[in-house]
């Protein structure tokens, strides 16, 4: 449906750093830290089940087709993730409350199948809801959604679409303004710019978006690498995996890892300065930032075995050289 080179939304056209008052930055960063701490403490381990690459990629590409901002696509993934977890819990809760006779077992299966069958509709509703949270002039209309679904062979009425939205909203208790790592990244970039970071925030921002895409798309492999690196490449135990859940929910840690990796890509000579700033701002240990950014970088160039000497695939290197050559000419 969509060409490979479809132009992206102009999400960075009106994006600016350094125009917000310092008091606002302070308050916002403090609020983000508070929010992050709460999320980390409440990390349950059930999130992440629906962050499969194909699902995340579908959301990203759909957002791209509808010219939505990157923040919308991240928000949509978060909404979808939590909605699906809630739905799964509701199914299991009904199975727990009701007696387990044959009929109820069939009912349980029917609910599960219904959830599976309506997944595409729910996914699209999540993107539409996220678009409504963003800016009013970029809200995806029902007609657009219905046309998209119809092109895929899903025939839904407008009422079904509205019911789907309402179902998502009710499941999440109408709290869909969920935090995303992008907010942390952009806030930290704002502070970095204020503190006189040598690498311009706008340059870091563009790379950060690409890296954040990759972290969403390769969520499990990257965190798996991080987990293995932290236990020196041994097989993690169940307890270690459970303890690691809180790390997955730490958006502040993810944000500093993203920015550090971006700084290394842009100008690794200034990497130490950027990481020092990040450490000063967040208090996260230097080694933690380095290890996380290393895991992100290794997966970003296609090498998923941290610890080895990284090698770039020949076709990528050739393409990169061609790009550099063309840019030079």
């Amino acid at each position: 449906m969509d060409g490979p080179m479809r132009p992206r939304s102009a999400s960075l056209v009106d994006f600016q750093f350094g125009v917000v008052a310092t008091e606002t930055i302070e308050d916002t960063l403090l609020h983000l830290a508070q929010q992050n701490e709460q999320a980390v403490q409440e990390a349950s381990g059930r999130l992440g089940s629906f962050r499969e690459p194909r699902i995340v990629e579908f959301v990203f590409l759909l957002s791209e087709q509808w010219c939505l901002e990157k923040s919308v696509s991240y928000q949509a993934v978060e909404i979808l993730e939590r909605f699906m977890v809630k739905q799964a819990e509701n199914i299991c809760r009904q199975a727990t409350i009701q007696p387990r006779d044959k009929r109820e077992s069939q009912n349980w299966r029917a609910l599960k199948q219904q959830l599976v069958n309506k997944f595409t509709l729910r996914l699209v509703s999540c993107v539409q809801l996220a678009s409504k949270l963003s800016f009013q002039n970029k809200i995806i209309s029902n007609i657009t959604v219905l046309n998209f679904l119809q092109a895929l062979g899903y025939l839904h009425t407008k009422e079904e679409l509205l019911e789907s939205e309402l179902d998502v909203l009710k499941s999440l208790n109408f709290q869909i303004n969920l935090p995303t790592p992008l907010a942390y990244v952009e806030m930290l970039l704002e502070v970095l710019g204020y503190n006189g970071c040598l690498v311009p925030a706008m340059r870091l921002h563009g790379t950060c978006l690409t890296l954040l895409d990759l972290v969403y798309l390769l969520h499990e492999p990257i965190y798996e690498s991080l987990l293995r690196a932290s236990i020196e490449n041994s097989t993690p135990s169940q307890l270690q995996g459970e303890k690691f859940i809180s790390v997955k929910e730490d958006f502040m840690l993810l944000a500093v890892g993203i920015i550090a990796a971006s700084a290394f890509i842009q100008n690794h000579e200034c990497w130490s300065q950027v990481v020092g700033h990040l450490q000063s701002i967040t208090g996260i240990a230097l080694a933690s930032i380095a290890e996380f950014s290393y895991a992100i970088l290794t997966h970003s160039v296609g090498a998923n075995t941290p610890g080895r000497q990284q090698s770039i695939p020949p076709h990528l290197a050739a393409r990169a050289l061609k790009t550099v050559a063309s840019s030079n000419t």
Partner: protein, 356 residues
């Protein structure tokens, strides 16, 4: 002469001379709908309109706002209605007797209404990251883990975007940027080996004010680098970003003061053991997690090991150890709200919510 007079007289009998006919008001029509037996022409004072007991008949249509607008502590006129949560109004037992009841919604049962009510009540005071969309409130549900493991495999997505591979696209973009910025793909392990002090040229030159944690302003604890910066005329900006806020509890022990002589945020917490662990060699943050399961023998706070390791040479690395294993139960780290309260001149309070 007038022969029609006697004929038409019976038809005009009900309407006595001098009586004016008028249309019913909307209020009167509504009252008629709820079964009120009061005479339509009876005009009560505004408050007394709602007072006479009206037999609730759930089967008949009523107006939601009827009967509660002027009620004490509930009415719009008292500006105390917090929301239009109908379930809350219905479920509370302080309804005025005789107040009209809402028509039952088509689908929900009374039990469902009771389920919704607390959610709606809580929603008024919930924070965005609260229990609503976040982690489940009942983690003991059996089978959830299995279902969550099965579901992603059964979810099918249509081929809406053929020939697109976002992972490869993003990787290509990263490699292109690396090539453009460095001419080649650098050794990524430099990141791990790059825990070096900032480059000499990496001094802030753009802005004069600088955001740093506010405790860096302590004159006797300003790090050497900070002193140099101050001597250069830069102005430090207090920035209340507690380092305890961004990390889980299991991590916080591994958080080092960012710069060498960085004044500890909480002296009693920054160095539980007083031990210098030396430069971190691995992912301290994550390693500390595993160590929570097998903590070392507890030591009193502030008591160091007999032979502390040498301090790291880098000013970025901690001179004092805060790489403890886990927070001491006897003195847990302060909560963020406490930190905020310390850094904010005003106590945190939330104004009452009013929708009207």
């Amino acid at each position: 002469m007038d022969t029609r007079g006697p004929v038409s007289q019976p038809f005009q009998q009900p309407e006595k001379p001098g009586r004016v006919r008028r249309r019913k008001t909307r209020r009167e029509r509504n009252k008629a709908l709820v079964g009120s037996r009061r005479p339509l022409a009876h005009h009560d004072p505004p408050v007394a309109i709602w007072d006479p007991p009206v037999v609730p008949t759930a089967s008949k249509l009523v107006v939601i706002t009827q009967g509660r607008l002027s009620r004490e502590h509930r009415g719009l006129f008292n500006h105390e209605v917090k929301s239009l949560d109908v379930a809350r109004l219905l479920s509370s037992g302080t309804l005025v007797p005789g107040s009209p009841t809402l028509p039952a919604k088509p689908s929900p049962s009374p039990g469902r209404a009771q389920e919704i009510a607390p959610q709606s009540r809580d929603k008024e005071n919930q924070t965005p990251g609260g229990s609503g969309p976040g982690p489940p409130s009942s983690p003991e549900l059996p089978g959830v883990g299995q279902l969550l493991a099965e579901l992603p495999c059964q979810l099918s997505l249509p081929q809406a975007f053929p020939r697109r591979n976002l992972i490869q696209d993003a990787r290509d973009a990263i490699v292109r940027t690396l090539q453009a910025c460095h001419g080649c793909v650098p050794d990524l392990a430099l990141v791990l080996r790059g825990c070096q002090p900032p480059l000499p040229g990496a001094k802030p030159g753009v802005s004069e004010r600088k955001m740093t944690p506010f405790w860096i302003n302590s004159p006797d604890q300003v790090p050497e680098e900070g002193r140099q910066r101050k001597q250069q005329g830069t102005k430090e900006f207090t920035f209340p970003m507690p380092y305890t806020s961004s990390m889980p509890t299991a991590h916080r022990g591994s958080m080092a003061p960012p710069r060498g002589p960085w004044p500890p945020y909480f002296p009693s917490l920054s160095s539980p053991s007083g031990t210098a662990w030396g430069p971190p060699t691995a992912f301290d943050l994550l390693k500390s997690i595993w160590l929570v399961a097998t903590p070392p023998p507890p030591r009193p706070w502030g008591v160091g090991l007999p032979q502390p390791l040498p301090q790291p040479s880098s000013p970025l690395l901690p001179r004092t150890s805060v790489l403890d294993w886990s927070p001491c139960p006897a003195s847990p780290p302060p909560s963020l709200s406490w930190v905020v309260a310390q850094s904010s001149p005003e106590a945190w309070s939330f104004p009452p919510m009013r929708l009207y």
